[in-house]
Every structure is written in structure tokens, then in C-alpha cells.
């Protein structure tokens, strides 16, 4: 809670604090009953159906206790850590963002309703209790949802990185010859990485010919096509020839629309043709040398 300057607000904050303490002890006293009510509401709403009732009950107990702790201390750190941990466990099982948000809002409603029933005789007190409860409850909902989404984004980022590393191997077929099989969707970022990887491999393996096979690429846009040409040109600046194989008709059309100078480009229908062409280039060098 932020520091208050005026004395009037000091009084108000003290009132808030005592009210909070009162509602925290109320929620602790009625823990078992409210927790079960929450589980019923979750099951009725058909949320979390990838988890067993026992699992739901276990998590619900932990979240409930964390929830009340946050109301008491005002610090969301423990809850955030728990929510991260929970997300890590339930994301692989296919729990969706709307479910998580729905569950937290259900708990908010269950508790709010319990408070309402308890204080309904005194309208003014009920009002003050809600003044104390609502901001804290909303903060909890935000914390849990944000933790879940952040965890999800982290998982997605990790997976993207893994896919990237897996999908762009640079293979040495034999001395001076590299193959770069590109599979999947090529975006500008991946094309840039690919260029870097290719040039690094040319330098470390002293390759003279590189066969770039894009049979596994469905479609590319003009920016990516340009990236591929830039990779070819850069490879040439480093003394290596590049051969592109497996151009689909669709990609060929994209390239035609680009209107690039095709004279600098060596292509072959498939990987086999590309390798034959590569052998020819390398063979020329070998037989001509004194």
C-alpha cells in the first residue's frame, strides 16, 4: 500500500487495516466450507476438466490459502511464485487462459458472496468491507492471470527457440560441400539467422559449394526471397558458390515477380540434381589443378 500523507487518509487506512484483519479471520474460519463451495462452482462451470477432482481440490486449497494471505499482507510475491509454479504444471496439460481467469474470478465471487451474507445486516459496514476487499481481490486476479500468461509466453519462446535450432542444420556432405535443408516456415528473422549460420559454416568448414534445399518450404514472401538471394551473394563474397534446389512452382513465381537478376543464381530441380551440379563444380576444380 502506498504511503499516505494526510492524517484523514491515515485514519481511513487504519480502518481499512482493521476491516481487512476482520475479513481475513472470517475467511480463515470458514475455509473448509468456502473452499468446497469454490470447487463446486468450478465443477459446475465445467472448468479444469483435464484435471482429476483430487488434483483440483489440492490446488484449490493452496490457492485459497495464498489468496487469504495476500488479503492479509498485501504482498503478492508468494502468490505470484505459486501461480508461476502452478502454470508450469497445468500448461502442458492444456489448461487455457480463460479457465484460469474464470477460476480466480469464481473465488472472488464466492468470497464476496460470503462476505455479503455475513454483513448484510449492516449496510454501512458491508460497504466498508467491500472497499477493503475489492481492490485486493482484483489485484490477486490480475497477478494470477498475468503470471499464467507470462509462463505461457515463456514456454512459447522456449519452444520457438528449440524449433529454430532443430530446423536449420548445416550438414557437411563431403570435403568442401555443405547442404542446408530448410524445412518449415521461413520468416525474415529465421532467414537472417540462416544466413549467419551458413556463412559461419562456410568459414569453419572451408566449403566451396553450398546446396540450399527448400523442398520443405511451402511458400515465401518477397522479403524472405530477397533474404535468400542475399545469403547466396554473401556466400559468393566468401568464395563459395550456392545452388538452390527444390523450388516449388509457387516460390518460383514469387521470385519471378521479384524481378531479380537470375543470372547470378544457380538452381536445380531437386536435391539430387543440386548435388550433381555441386560435384561438377568441385570436380572441375580438382581436374584442372596442376
Amino acid at each position: 500500500m502506498s504511503s499516505r500523507s494526510s492524517s484523514a487518509e491515515d485514519v481511513e487506512s487504519r480502518v481499512d487495516d482493521s476491516l481487512l484483519r476482520e475479513l481475513v479471520s472470517l475467511l480463515r474460519d470458514r475455509r473448509t466450507e468456502l473452499r468446497e463451495e469454490w470447487v463446486h462452482r468450478i465443477t459446475d462451470a465445467d472448468l479444469l476438466n483435464v484435471m482429476t477432482p483430487e488434483e483440483i481440490f489440492g490446488e484449490v486449497t493452496a490457492v485459497y490459502d495464498n489468496y487469504v494471505d495476500v488479503l492479509e499482507t498485501g504482498s503478492v510475491e508468494t502468490l505470484r511464485a505459486y501461480a508461476r509454479d502452478l502454470s508450469e504444471r497445468i500448461i502442458p496439460r492444456g489448461v487455457e487462459t480463460d479457465e484460469v481467469l474464470g477460476i480466480v474470478l469464481l473465488l472472488r465471487d464466492v468470497l464476496a458472496r460470503a462476505l455479503f451474507v455475513h454483513y448484510v445486516r449492516d449496510g454501512e459496514l458491508l460497504n466498508s468491507i467491500f472497499n477493503a476487499y475489492e481492490p485486493a481481490a482484483n489485484r490477486i486476479a490480475v497477478t494470477v492471470s498475468v503470471s499464467f500468461v507470462e509462463e505461457r509466453e515463456r514456454v512459447i519462446r522456449e519452444q520457438q527457440e528449440a524449433i529454430r535450432e532443430l530446423s536449420t542444420p548445416v550438414l557437411q556432405v563431403r570435403n568442401q560441400l555443405l547442404i542446408l535443408p530448410i524445412i518449415g516456415v521461413l520468416d525474415a528473422e529465421r532467414a537472417r539467422q540462416l544466413t549467419e549460420q551458413l556463412l559461419g559454416a562456410i568459414q569453419s568448414s572451408r566449403a566451396k559449394v553450398v546446396v540450399i534445399d527448400i523442398t520443405g518450404v511451402g511458400t515465401i514472401d518477397q522479403a524472405v526471397a530477397n533474404h535468400i538471394f542475399q545469403a547466396v551473394e554473401a556466400a559468393q563474397l566468401m568464395g563459395a558458390s550456392a545452388i538452390i534446389t527444390g523450388l516449388s512452382a509457387k516460390i518460383a513465381q514469387t521470385i519471378v515477380e521479384l524481378g531479380v537478376d537470375l543470372s547470378m543464381l544457380t538452381t536445380a530441380g531437386d536435391l539430387q540434381g543440386g548435388l550433381e551440379e555441386a560435384e561438377r563444380i568441385l570436380g572441375l576444380g580438382a581436374t584442372d589443378a596442376p
Partner: protein, 124 residues
């Protein structure tokens, strides 16, 4: 000669090596020195080694082309050796073209390339 450059003769070849980034004036001087050495030595091939360069801008690219043309007029071939990956990416990005220059990974490859093309020419 000023600037971090060296020009050596080795048999039929002239090996001009740039060992650090050059100012524009040094680039001009380097170009003129190579041309002069081409005149005094009857070189049949020139290797310009640029592995130490972090940047090849349009000015350097033009100087390299100009060296190649001078060499060609004197009957020598030129190979640029040792362009670094980042430099190659930047050059392509800025559409700096070295054509019709030939390029090689490093000095060894450049000498091999020259050897091969001189041999091919001798056998024509």
C-alpha cells in the same frame, strides 16, 4: 608507406594485405601502391587480403575494383580474399557489388584459385 598494409611479391603473385581499418586517404594510397608494384613486378596474379577489415564500404569496394581493372589491363588476375561473414552480410545488405572481382575464403584458397585459372589459361 603509411597505414597498416603490406604488399609482398611471391613468385608470379603479388600479395597485398590490409591489416586494419584504413582511412579514405590510406585506401587511395594503398590502391596507388598496388598499381605501382604491378608495374615494377611482372605479376600474373594479385591477391588482396581483407580479413582484418570490419567494414567494406563503397569507397573501399571501388578501390578494390579499380585495383582489379588496373591488374587486368596489365594481364594479371585479382582475387579478394578473407571477407568476413558479417562484412559479407553488410555488403550484400547495402548492395555493394564486387563484380567482376573473384573472391576466396582466405589467402590459401585465393592462391589456389589463381593457380588454377593461370593453368587453365596456359592450356588453352
Amino acid at each position: 608507406m603509411s597505414g597498416p598494409v603490406s604488399i609482398l611479391s611471391r613468385g608470379d603473385y603479388l600479395i597485398a594485405s590490409i591489416q586494419g581499418d584504413l582511412s579514405d586517404a590510406e585506401v587511395v594510397e594503398f590502391r596507388d601502391d598496388v598499381a605501382e608494384r604491378l608495374g615494377s613486378h611482372d605479376a600474373r596474379g594479385v591477391v588482396v587480403e581483407v580479413a582484418a577489415l570490419d567494414v567494406i564500404d563503397s569507397f573501399v569496394a571501388r578501390a578494390l575494383r579499380s585495383i582489379a581493372v588496373t591488374a587486368r589491363l596489365r594481364g594479371a588476375e585479382t582475387v579478394i580474399a578473407g571477407i568476413q561473414p558479417e562484412v559479407a552480410i553488410a555488403m550484400v545488405h547495402f548492395k555493394l557489388d564486387l563484380a567482376p572481382l573473384r573472391t576466396a575464403l582466405d589467402l590459401d584458397d585465393a592462391l589456389e584459385l589463381l593457380q588454377r585459372s593461370l593453368y587453365a589459361r596456359a592450356n588453352e
